[in-house]
Protein backbone atom coordinates (compact mmCIF):
# COMPACT_ATOMS: atom_id res chain seq x y z
CA UNK A 1 0.00 0.00 0.00
CA UNK A 2 1.30 3.47 -0.89
CA UNK A 3 2.46 5.66 1.99
CA UNK A 4 -0.29 8.26 2.64
CA UNK A 5 2.22 11.07 3.15
CA UNK A 6 5.16 10.27 0.87
CA UNK A 7 4.93 11.21 -2.82
CA UNK A 8 6.01 8.67 -5.48
CA UNK A 9 9.30 10.57 -5.92
CA UNK A 10 10.02 10.02 -2.20
CA UNK A 11 9.39 13.61 -1.12
CA UNK A 12 7.10 14.84 1.68
CA UNK A 13 5.29 18.17 1.94
CA UNK A 14 5.24 18.74 5.71
CA UNK A 15 2.57 21.46 5.46
CA UNK A 16 0.25 18.98 3.74
CA UNK A 17 1.05 16.30 6.33
CA UNK A 18 0.04 18.67 9.14
CA UNK A 19 -3.12 19.68 7.24
CA UNK A 20 -4.05 16.00 6.87
CA UNK A 21 -3.42 15.36 10.57
CA UNK A 22 -5.54 18.37 11.55
CA UNK A 23 -8.34 17.10 9.32
CA UNK A 24 -8.14 13.69 11.06
CA UNK A 25 -8.38 15.40 14.45
CA UNK A 26 -11.35 17.44 13.29
CA UNK A 27 -13.16 14.38 11.95
CA UNK A 28 -12.50 12.45 15.16
CA UNK A 29 -13.98 15.36 17.13
CA UNK A 30 -17.18 15.21 15.08
CA UNK A 31 -18.06 11.84 16.63
CA UNK A 32 -17.51 12.88 20.24
CA UNK A 33 -20.24 14.06 22.64
CA UNK A 34 -20.49 17.85 22.98
CA UNK A 35 -19.10 17.93 26.55
CA UNK A 36 -15.96 16.07 25.45
CA UNK A 37 -15.44 18.44 22.54
CA UNK A 38 -15.83 21.38 24.96
CA UNK A 39 -13.28 19.82 27.34
CA UNK A 40 -10.82 19.38 24.46
CA UNK A 41 -11.28 22.94 23.28
CA UNK A 42 -10.84 24.30 26.79
CA UNK A 43 -7.71 22.20 27.08
CA UNK A 44 -6.34 23.57 23.82
CA UNK A 45 -7.07 27.16 24.88
CA UNK A 46 -5.43 26.66 28.27
CA UNK A 47 -2.49 25.08 26.51
CA UNK A 48 -2.16 28.12 24.26
CA UNK A 49 -2.20 30.38 27.32
CA UNK A 50 0.60 28.20 28.77
CA UNK A 51 -1.48 27.17 31.78
CA UNK A 52 0.48 24.33 33.35
CA UNK A 53 -1.02 20.84 33.73
CA UNK A 54 -1.13 21.35 37.52
CA UNK A 55 -3.61 24.19 37.03
CA UNK A 56 -5.36 22.76 33.99
CA UNK A 57 -6.21 19.29 35.40
CA UNK A 58 -8.27 20.43 38.43
CA UNK A 59 -9.88 23.17 36.31
CA UNK A 60 -11.15 20.71 33.68
CA UNK A 61 -12.32 18.29 36.37
CA UNK A 62 -14.36 21.14 37.82
CA UNK A 63 -12.59 21.05 41.19
CA UNK A 64 -12.95 24.22 43.16
CA UNK A 65 -9.40 23.81 44.43
CA UNK A 66 -8.01 25.13 41.13
CA UNK A 67 -9.21 28.59 42.03
CA UNK A 68 -7.24 31.20 43.92
CA UNK A 69 -5.77 30.05 47.20
CA UNK A 70 -5.90 32.80 49.82
CA UNK A 71 -3.04 31.18 51.72
CA UNK A 72 0.32 32.45 50.53
CA UNK A 73 3.61 30.61 50.99
CA UNK A 74 5.98 31.85 53.67
CA UNK A 75 9.51 32.08 52.37
CA UNK A 76 12.78 33.76 53.23
CA UNK A 77 16.15 33.97 51.52
CA UNK A 78 17.85 33.76 54.96
CA UNK A 79 19.13 30.50 56.40
CA UNK A 80 19.66 29.00 59.86
CA UNK A 81 18.09 30.52 63.00
CA UNK A 82 17.35 33.81 61.18
CA UNK A 83 15.15 31.90 58.73
CA UNK A 84 13.17 30.27 61.59
CA UNK A 85 12.73 33.66 63.20
CA UNK A 86 11.60 35.46 60.03
CA UNK A 87 9.20 32.69 58.97
CA UNK A 88 7.79 32.62 62.54
CA UNK A 89 7.16 36.36 62.41
CA UNK A 90 5.49 36.04 59.01
CA UNK A 91 3.29 33.22 60.38
CA UNK A 92 2.16 35.48 63.19
CA UNK A 93 1.42 38.34 60.79
CA UNK A 94 -0.40 36.25 58.18
CA UNK A 95 -3.88 36.15 59.83
CA UNK A 96 -3.86 39.94 60.02
CA UNK A 97 -2.76 40.28 56.39
CA UNK A 98 -5.44 37.82 55.31
CA UNK A 99 -8.07 39.81 57.15
CA UNK A 100 -7.60 42.43 54.43
CA UNK A 101 -6.73 40.23 51.44
CA UNK A 102 -9.29 37.41 51.79
CA UNK A 103 -12.34 39.44 50.66
CA UNK A 104 -10.45 40.56 47.53
CA UNK A 105 -9.27 37.03 46.76
CA UNK A 106 -12.75 35.59 47.36
CA UNK A 107 -14.25 38.13 44.99
CA UNK A 108 -11.68 37.32 42.29
CA UNK A 109 -12.37 33.61 42.78
CA UNK A 110 -16.10 34.21 42.22
CA UNK A 111 -15.36 36.16 39.04
CA UNK A 112 -13.07 33.35 37.81
CA UNK A 113 -15.79 30.72 38.32
CA UNK A 114 -18.37 32.92 36.64
CA UNK A 115 -16.09 33.50 33.61
CA UNK A 116 -15.30 29.79 33.35
CA UNK A 117 -19.03 29.01 33.26
CA UNK A 118 -19.59 31.68 30.59
CA UNK A 119 -16.78 30.27 28.43
CA UNK A 120 -18.05 26.70 28.83
CA UNK A 121 -21.57 27.75 27.83
CA UNK A 122 -20.31 29.65 24.80
CA UNK A 123 -18.19 26.71 23.70
CA UNK A 124 -21.16 24.32 24.08
CA UNK A 125 -23.35 26.62 22.02
CA UNK A 126 -20.77 27.16 19.26
CA UNK A 127 -20.10 23.42 19.08
CA UNK A 128 -23.83 22.68 18.69
CA UNK A 129 -24.19 25.42 16.09
CA UNK A 130 -21.17 24.18 14.14
CA UNK A 131 -22.62 20.67 14.10
CA UNK A 132 -26.02 21.92 12.99
CA UNK A 133 -24.39 23.97 10.22
CA UNK A 134 -22.32 20.98 9.08
CA UNK A 135 -25.42 18.72 9.00
CA UNK A 136 -27.33 21.30 6.98
CA UNK A 137 -24.40 21.61 4.56
CA UNK A 138 -24.19 17.82 4.12
CA UNK A 139 -27.96 17.41 3.69
CA UNK A 140 -29.07 16.56 0.11
Amino acid sequence: MADPFVAPDGSVDVTKVMEALRERIRRRGADLPVDQVVARRLEALADEAELGPDVLGPLLRGERGWNLDPDYPLKTHRSGPAAWFVVGLKKLARPFVRFYTDPIVARQAQINLYLLRVVETLLEETTRLQRAAAERKDAP
Binding site: V6, V14, M18, R40
Partner: protein, 386 residues
Protein backbone atom coordinates in the same frame (compact mmCIF):
# COMPACT_ATOMS: atom_id res chain seq x y z
CA UNK B 1 42.29 39.42 9.59
CA UNK B 2 42.37 39.72 13.37
CA UNK B 3 39.03 38.77 14.92
CA UNK B 4 37.79 38.93 18.51
CA UNK B 5 34.84 36.89 19.80
CA UNK B 6 33.06 38.26 22.88
CA UNK B 7 30.70 35.93 24.74
CA UNK B 8 29.29 35.51 28.24
CA UNK B 9 30.96 32.11 28.92
CA UNK B 10 33.51 30.08 27.01
CA UNK B 11 34.95 26.62 27.56
CA UNK B 12 34.66 22.97 26.65
CA UNK B 13 32.37 22.51 29.68
CA UNK B 14 29.74 24.81 28.16
CA UNK B 15 27.94 22.37 25.90
CA UNK B 16 25.05 24.27 24.37
CA UNK B 17 23.35 27.48 23.41
CA UNK B 18 24.98 30.63 22.08
CA UNK B 19 28.25 29.75 23.82
CA UNK B 20 28.70 26.53 21.83
CA UNK B 21 27.60 28.36 18.70
CA UNK B 22 30.33 30.96 19.39
CA UNK B 23 33.01 28.33 20.05
CA UNK B 24 32.25 26.43 16.84
CA UNK B 25 32.35 29.59 14.73
CA UNK B 26 35.51 30.89 16.43
CA UNK B 27 37.30 27.59 15.84
CA UNK B 28 36.27 27.55 12.18
CA UNK B 29 37.24 31.18 11.58
CA UNK B 30 40.62 30.47 13.21
CA UNK B 31 41.53 28.27 10.23
CA UNK B 32 41.70 31.43 8.08
CA UNK B 33 42.16 34.31 10.54
CA UNK B 34 43.82 35.23 13.82
CA UNK B 35 41.14 34.69 16.53
CA UNK B 36 41.04 35.58 20.23
CA UNK B 37 38.21 35.13 22.74
CA UNK B 38 37.08 37.70 25.31
CA UNK B 39 34.82 36.35 28.03
CA UNK B 40 34.12 36.23 31.77
CA UNK B 41 35.17 33.81 34.49
CA UNK B 42 31.55 32.55 34.78
CA UNK B 43 30.72 28.90 34.30
CA UNK B 44 27.24 28.68 35.83
CA UNK B 45 24.64 30.44 33.67
CA UNK B 46 22.00 30.92 36.37
CA UNK B 47 24.00 32.88 38.95
CA UNK B 48 27.15 33.58 36.87
CA UNK B 49 29.31 32.14 39.62
CA UNK B 50 32.97 31.96 38.59
CA UNK B 51 34.22 28.58 37.45
CA UNK B 52 37.38 29.64 35.63
CA UNK B 53 40.36 31.70 36.81
CA UNK B 54 40.76 35.22 35.44
CA UNK B 55 43.58 35.70 32.92
CA UNK B 56 44.59 34.24 29.58
CA UNK B 57 44.51 30.52 28.82
CA UNK B 58 44.14 28.38 25.71
CA UNK B 59 41.02 26.44 24.70
CA UNK B 60 41.07 24.41 21.51
CA UNK B 61 44.24 26.21 20.45
CA UNK B 62 42.70 29.71 20.79
CA UNK B 63 43.76 32.35 23.33
CA UNK B 64 40.93 33.01 25.79
CA UNK B 65 41.01 36.17 27.93
CA UNK B 66 38.74 35.80 30.98
CA UNK B 67 37.71 38.79 33.09
CA UNK B 68 36.33 38.87 36.60
CA UNK B 69 32.73 39.63 37.55
CA UNK B 70 31.66 42.64 39.55
CA UNK B 71 28.96 40.53 41.18
CA UNK B 72 27.04 37.30 40.82
CA UNK B 73 23.44 37.47 39.61
CA UNK B 74 20.88 38.19 42.34
CA UNK B 75 17.76 36.25 41.23
CA UNK B 76 15.46 38.22 43.56
CA UNK B 77 16.67 41.58 42.26
CA UNK B 78 16.39 40.34 38.66
CA UNK B 79 12.87 39.00 39.26
CA UNK B 80 11.77 42.33 40.79
CA UNK B 81 13.23 44.29 37.87
CA UNK B 82 11.74 41.84 35.36
CA UNK B 83 8.26 42.40 36.86
CA UNK B 84 8.76 46.12 36.45
CA UNK B 85 10.24 46.32 32.95
CA UNK B 86 8.13 43.54 31.40
CA UNK B 87 4.76 44.39 32.90
CA UNK B 88 4.64 47.93 34.27
CA UNK B 89 5.31 51.52 33.29
CA UNK B 90 9.05 52.05 33.62
CA UNK B 91 11.96 54.22 32.52
CA UNK B 92 14.96 53.68 30.30
CA UNK B 93 17.10 53.60 33.47
CA UNK B 94 15.00 50.66 34.74
CA UNK B 95 15.78 48.79 31.53
CA UNK B 96 19.52 49.46 31.86
CA UNK B 97 19.30 48.30 35.47
CA UNK B 98 17.68 45.09 34.17
CA UNK B 99 20.59 44.55 31.74
CA UNK B 100 23.08 44.99 34.62
CA UNK B 101 21.08 42.63 36.86
CA UNK B 102 20.86 40.08 34.04
CA UNK B 103 24.65 40.14 33.85
CA UNK B 104 27.23 38.72 33.72
CA UNK B 105 28.40 42.12 34.91
CA UNK B 106 32.04 42.50 33.97
CA UNK B 107 33.14 46.11 33.44
CA UNK B 108 36.70 44.73 33.10
CA UNK B 109 35.63 42.79 30.00
CA UNK B 110 34.07 45.89 28.43
CA UNK B 111 37.18 47.93 29.26
CA UNK B 112 39.36 45.25 27.68
CA UNK B 113 37.27 45.38 24.48
CA UNK B 114 37.70 49.17 24.34
CA UNK B 115 41.47 48.85 24.89
CA UNK B 116 41.84 46.12 22.25
CA UNK B 117 39.78 47.99 19.65
CA UNK B 118 42.78 49.02 17.53
CA UNK B 119 44.30 45.50 17.59
CA UNK B 120 41.35 43.81 15.84
CA UNK B 121 39.51 44.19 12.55
CA UNK B 122 36.17 43.00 13.98
CA UNK B 123 34.54 42.01 17.27
CA UNK B 124 31.76 39.41 17.19
CA UNK B 125 29.36 39.77 20.13
CA UNK B 126 27.16 36.76 20.93
CA UNK B 127 23.71 37.10 22.61
CA UNK B 128 22.21 40.57 22.65
CA UNK B 129 20.55 40.28 26.06
CA UNK B 130 23.63 40.17 28.24
CA UNK B 131 25.82 42.84 29.80
CA UNK B 132 28.86 42.14 27.59
CA UNK B 133 26.92 42.85 24.37
CA UNK B 134 24.90 45.79 25.61
CA UNK B 135 27.94 47.66 26.92
CA UNK B 136 30.55 46.00 24.70
CA UNK B 137 29.05 46.84 21.29
CA UNK B 138 29.39 50.62 21.85
CA UNK B 139 32.93 50.03 23.18
CA UNK B 140 33.90 48.29 19.92
CA UNK B 141 32.26 51.02 17.81
CA UNK B 142 32.01 50.34 14.08
CA UNK B 143 34.03 47.16 14.44
CA UNK B 144 31.18 45.44 16.30
CA UNK B 145 29.23 42.63 14.65
CA UNK B 146 26.30 41.38 16.70
CA UNK B 147 25.08 37.77 16.67
CA UNK B 148 21.86 38.43 18.62
CA UNK B 149 20.49 34.87 19.08
CA UNK B 150 17.17 36.60 19.72
CA UNK B 151 14.01 34.79 20.70
CA UNK B 152 10.38 35.89 20.90
CA UNK B 153 10.43 36.55 24.63
CA UNK B 154 9.82 39.61 26.79
CA UNK B 155 13.39 40.96 26.71
CA UNK B 156 13.34 41.62 22.97
CA UNK B 157 10.60 44.22 23.50
CA UNK B 158 12.77 46.48 25.70
CA UNK B 159 13.59 49.83 24.13
CA UNK B 160 17.25 49.69 25.10
CA UNK B 161 17.71 46.66 22.85
CA UNK B 162 16.11 48.41 19.88
CA UNK B 163 18.83 51.04 20.40
CA UNK B 164 21.49 48.30 20.60
CA UNK B 165 20.40 46.73 17.30
CA UNK B 166 21.10 50.04 15.53
CA UNK B 167 24.68 50.33 16.80
CA UNK B 168 26.85 47.55 15.32
CA UNK B 169 28.37 47.59 11.85
CA UNK B 170 26.37 44.49 10.98
CA UNK B 171 24.12 41.81 12.45
CA UNK B 172 24.53 38.07 11.82
CA UNK B 173 21.05 36.57 12.11
CA UNK B 174 20.38 32.91 12.74
CA UNK B 175 17.17 32.65 10.75
CA UNK B 176 14.84 34.72 8.61
CA UNK B 177 12.38 34.72 11.54
CA UNK B 178 14.99 36.32 13.78
CA UNK B 179 15.69 39.00 11.16
CA UNK B 180 11.93 39.74 10.92
CA UNK B 181 11.66 39.92 14.72
CA UNK B 182 14.49 42.45 14.99
CA UNK B 183 13.12 44.46 12.07
CA UNK B 184 9.79 44.65 13.93
CA UNK B 185 11.20 45.82 17.28
CA UNK B 186 13.42 48.43 15.60
CA UNK B 187 10.78 49.62 13.15
CA UNK B 188 13.05 48.55 10.29
CA UNK B 189 15.99 50.67 11.46
CA UNK B 190 18.35 47.90 12.65
CA UNK B 191 21.93 47.72 11.38
CA UNK B 192 22.30 45.85 8.06
CA UNK B 193 22.88 42.14 8.26
CA UNK B 194 22.62 38.70 6.72
CA UNK B 195 21.15 35.35 7.73
CA UNK B 196 24.27 33.38 8.64
CA UNK B 197 23.28 30.58 11.04
CA UNK B 198 25.91 28.10 12.09
CA UNK B 199 27.69 25.09 10.68
CA UNK B 200 27.89 21.85 12.61
CA UNK B 201 30.77 20.08 14.31
CA UNK B 202 29.43 16.65 15.14
CA UNK B 203 31.54 14.27 17.19
CA UNK B 204 32.36 10.83 15.85
CA UNK B 205 29.78 8.39 17.22
CA UNK B 206 32.23 5.59 16.56
CA UNK B 207 34.03 6.43 19.81
CA UNK B 208 30.89 5.68 21.87
CA UNK B 209 29.22 2.28 22.29
CA UNK B 210 25.82 1.92 20.56
CA UNK B 211 23.25 3.95 22.48
CA UNK B 212 20.81 1.09 23.08
CA UNK B 213 23.46 -1.08 24.77
CA UNK B 214 25.15 1.76 26.60
CA UNK B 215 21.93 3.07 28.16
CA UNK B 216 19.81 -0.11 28.20
CA UNK B 217 17.22 1.22 25.77
CA UNK B 218 15.07 -1.63 24.48
CA UNK B 219 12.04 0.08 22.93
CA UNK B 220 11.94 2.72 20.20
CA UNK B 221 12.38 6.19 21.63
CA UNK B 222 11.82 9.88 21.07
CA UNK B 223 14.88 11.88 22.07
CA UNK B 224 15.08 15.23 23.84
CA UNK B 225 18.52 16.86 23.92
CA UNK B 226 19.43 19.89 26.00
CA UNK B 227 18.79 21.51 29.35
CA UNK B 228 15.70 20.04 30.97
CA UNK B 229 13.74 23.03 32.23
CA UNK B 230 10.26 24.55 31.98
CA UNK B 231 11.53 27.44 29.79
CA UNK B 232 12.51 24.86 27.19
CA UNK B 233 8.96 23.49 27.11
CA UNK B 234 9.83 20.36 29.08
CA UNK B 235 6.90 20.56 31.55
CA UNK B 236 4.48 20.65 28.63
CA UNK B 237 6.37 17.85 26.87
CA UNK B 238 6.06 15.62 29.96
CA UNK B 239 2.33 16.38 30.24
CA UNK B 240 1.74 15.65 26.54
CA UNK B 241 3.84 12.49 26.54
CA UNK B 242 2.12 11.04 29.62
CA UNK B 243 -1.31 11.83 28.26
CA UNK B 244 -0.40 10.25 24.95
CA UNK B 245 0.76 7.10 26.78
CA UNK B 246 -2.48 6.99 28.80
CA UNK B 247 -4.66 7.39 25.74
CA UNK B 248 -2.85 5.22 23.22
CA UNK B 249 -0.23 3.14 25.06
CA UNK B 250 2.43 3.35 22.35
CA UNK B 251 5.48 1.17 23.04
CA UNK B 252 7.86 4.10 22.98
CA UNK B 253 10.15 5.79 25.51
CA UNK B 254 10.98 9.44 25.95
CA UNK B 255 14.74 9.67 26.45
CA UNK B 256 16.17 12.87 27.92
CA UNK B 257 19.85 13.73 27.62
CA UNK B 258 20.95 16.89 29.39
CA UNK B 259 21.27 18.58 32.74
CA UNK B 260 17.98 18.68 34.67
CA UNK B 261 16.88 22.00 36.14
CA UNK B 262 13.41 20.76 37.06
CA UNK B 263 11.80 17.66 38.51
CA UNK B 264 11.44 14.87 35.98
CA UNK B 265 8.24 12.81 36.42
CA UNK B 266 8.69 9.23 37.62
CA UNK B 267 7.48 7.05 34.78
CA UNK B 268 8.86 3.81 33.42
CA UNK B 269 8.77 5.24 29.89
CA UNK B 270 10.58 8.48 30.71
CA UNK B 271 14.32 7.88 30.84
CA UNK B 272 16.62 10.67 32.02
CA UNK B 273 20.25 9.95 31.20
CA UNK B 274 21.75 13.16 32.58
CA UNK B 275 24.63 14.88 30.85
CA UNK B 276 26.09 12.84 27.98
CA UNK B 277 29.30 13.22 25.98
CA UNK B 278 29.25 14.54 22.41
CA UNK B 279 29.94 11.04 21.05
CA UNK B 280 27.12 9.58 23.18
CA UNK B 281 24.82 12.33 21.93
CA UNK B 282 25.55 11.37 18.34
CA UNK B 283 25.03 7.69 19.19
CA UNK B 284 21.67 8.50 20.82
CA UNK B 285 20.59 10.54 17.80
CA UNK B 286 21.52 7.80 15.38
CA UNK B 287 19.27 5.27 17.17
CA UNK B 288 16.18 7.40 17.92
CA UNK B 289 12.90 7.46 16.00
CA UNK B 290 12.74 11.25 16.11
CA UNK B 291 14.12 14.23 17.97
CA UNK B 292 11.52 16.14 19.95
CA UNK B 293 12.01 19.90 20.40
CA UNK B 294 9.27 21.39 22.64
CA UNK B 295 10.85 24.80 23.24
CA UNK B 296 8.56 27.80 22.73
CA UNK B 297 11.55 30.15 22.32
CA UNK B 298 14.43 29.39 19.97
CA UNK B 299 16.64 31.53 17.79
CA UNK B 300 18.17 28.67 15.81
CA UNK B 301 18.28 25.32 17.69
CA UNK B 302 21.56 23.62 16.93
CA UNK B 303 20.20 20.23 18.02
CA UNK B 304 17.54 20.48 15.35
CA UNK B 305 20.27 20.97 12.74
CA UNK B 306 22.35 18.17 14.26
CA UNK B 307 19.40 15.79 14.04
CA UNK B 308 18.81 16.69 10.40
CA UNK B 309 22.53 16.40 9.64
CA UNK B 310 22.18 12.77 10.75
CA UNK B 311 18.98 12.19 8.79
CA UNK B 312 16.78 12.12 11.92
CA UNK B 313 13.24 13.55 11.63
CA UNK B 314 12.05 16.16 14.10
CA UNK B 315 8.88 16.73 16.10
CA UNK B 316 8.90 20.42 17.06
CA UNK B 317 6.75 22.95 18.87
CA UNK B 318 5.01 24.84 16.07
CA UNK B 319 4.14 27.72 18.38
CA UNK B 320 7.78 28.77 18.09
CA UNK B 321 7.97 30.65 14.79
CA UNK B 322 11.63 29.73 14.26
CA UNK B 323 11.06 25.99 14.74
CA UNK B 324 7.97 26.02 12.52
CA UNK B 325 9.83 27.99 9.85
CA UNK B 326 12.81 25.65 9.97
CA UNK B 327 10.56 22.57 9.70
CA UNK B 328 8.65 24.02 6.76
CA UNK B 329 11.72 25.27 4.88
CA UNK B 330 13.63 22.03 5.34
CA UNK B 331 10.73 19.60 5.09
CA UNK B 332 12.54 17.72 7.85
CA UNK B 333 10.03 17.81 10.68
CA UNK B 334 6.44 18.09 11.84
CA UNK B 335 5.53 21.19 13.83
CA UNK B 336 2.65 20.60 16.25
CA UNK B 337 0.43 23.07 18.04
CA UNK B 338 -1.17 21.71 21.18
CA UNK B 339 -1.60 18.21 22.54
CA UNK B 340 -3.82 16.74 19.84
CA UNK B 341 -1.39 17.66 17.06
CA UNK B 342 1.52 16.40 19.16
CA UNK B 343 -0.17 13.02 19.59
CA UNK B 344 -1.24 12.81 15.93
CA UNK B 345 2.24 13.80 14.68
CA UNK B 346 3.99 11.36 17.01
CA UNK B 347 1.62 8.57 15.89
CA UNK B 348 2.30 9.38 12.24
CA UNK B 349 6.07 9.41 12.76
CA UNK B 350 6.22 6.20 14.77
CA UNK B 351 3.82 4.29 12.57
CA UNK B 352 5.28 5.28 9.23
CA UNK B 353 8.95 4.41 8.60
CA UNK B 354 8.64 5.81 5.06
CA UNK B 355 7.61 9.19 6.43
CA UNK B 356 10.47 9.17 8.96
CA UNK B 357 13.00 8.32 6.29
CA UNK B 358 11.72 10.98 3.89
CA UNK B 359 11.72 13.70 6.55
CA UNK B 360 15.23 12.73 7.64
CA UNK B 361 16.44 12.80 4.03
CA UNK B 362 14.94 16.24 3.42
CA UNK B 363 16.36 17.59 6.69
CA UNK B 364 19.84 16.36 5.81
CA UNK B 365 19.69 17.93 2.33
CA UNK B 366 18.58 21.24 3.86
CA UNK B 367 21.42 21.34 6.40
CA UNK B 368 23.99 20.38 3.78
CA UNK B 369 22.90 23.18 1.48
CA UNK B 370 22.14 25.95 4.02
CA UNK B 371 24.44 25.30 6.96
CA UNK B 372 27.72 24.19 5.46
CA UNK B 373 30.78 25.75 7.09
CA UNK B 374 31.94 27.22 3.79
CA UNK B 375 28.69 29.09 3.45
CA UNK B 376 28.64 30.28 7.10
CA UNK B 377 32.27 31.44 7.06
CA UNK B 378 31.76 33.15 3.69
CA UNK B 379 28.76 35.10 4.98
CA UNK B 380 30.56 36.15 8.16
CA UNK B 381 33.51 37.40 6.12
CA UNK B 382 31.02 39.27 3.98
CA UNK B 383 29.71 41.04 7.10
CA UNK B 384 33.22 42.07 8.16
CA UNK B 385 33.64 43.78 4.83
CA UNK B 386 30.17 45.35 4.99
Amino acid sequence: MRLAFVVQRYGLEVAGGAELHCRWIAERMAARHHVEIFTTTALDHTLWTAGYPAGTSTVGGLPVHRFGLARARDPRALAALSSRVFAQAHTRDDEEAWVRANGPESPELVAAVATARERFDAFFFFSYRYYHSYFGVPAAGRKAILVPTAEEDDAIELGVFAELFRKPRAIAFNTVEERALIARVTGGTAAPGDVVGCGLSLADAGTAPPARERFGLRDPYLLYLGRIEPNKGCATLFAYFRKWLEEQSPAVDLVLAGKAAMEIPEHRRIRALGFVSEAEKVALLSACQALVMPSPYESLSLVLLEAWRMGVPVLANGRCRVLRGQCERSGGGLAYRGYEEFAASADALLGDPGLRAALGRQGRAYVESEYSWERVVGRLEGLIGA
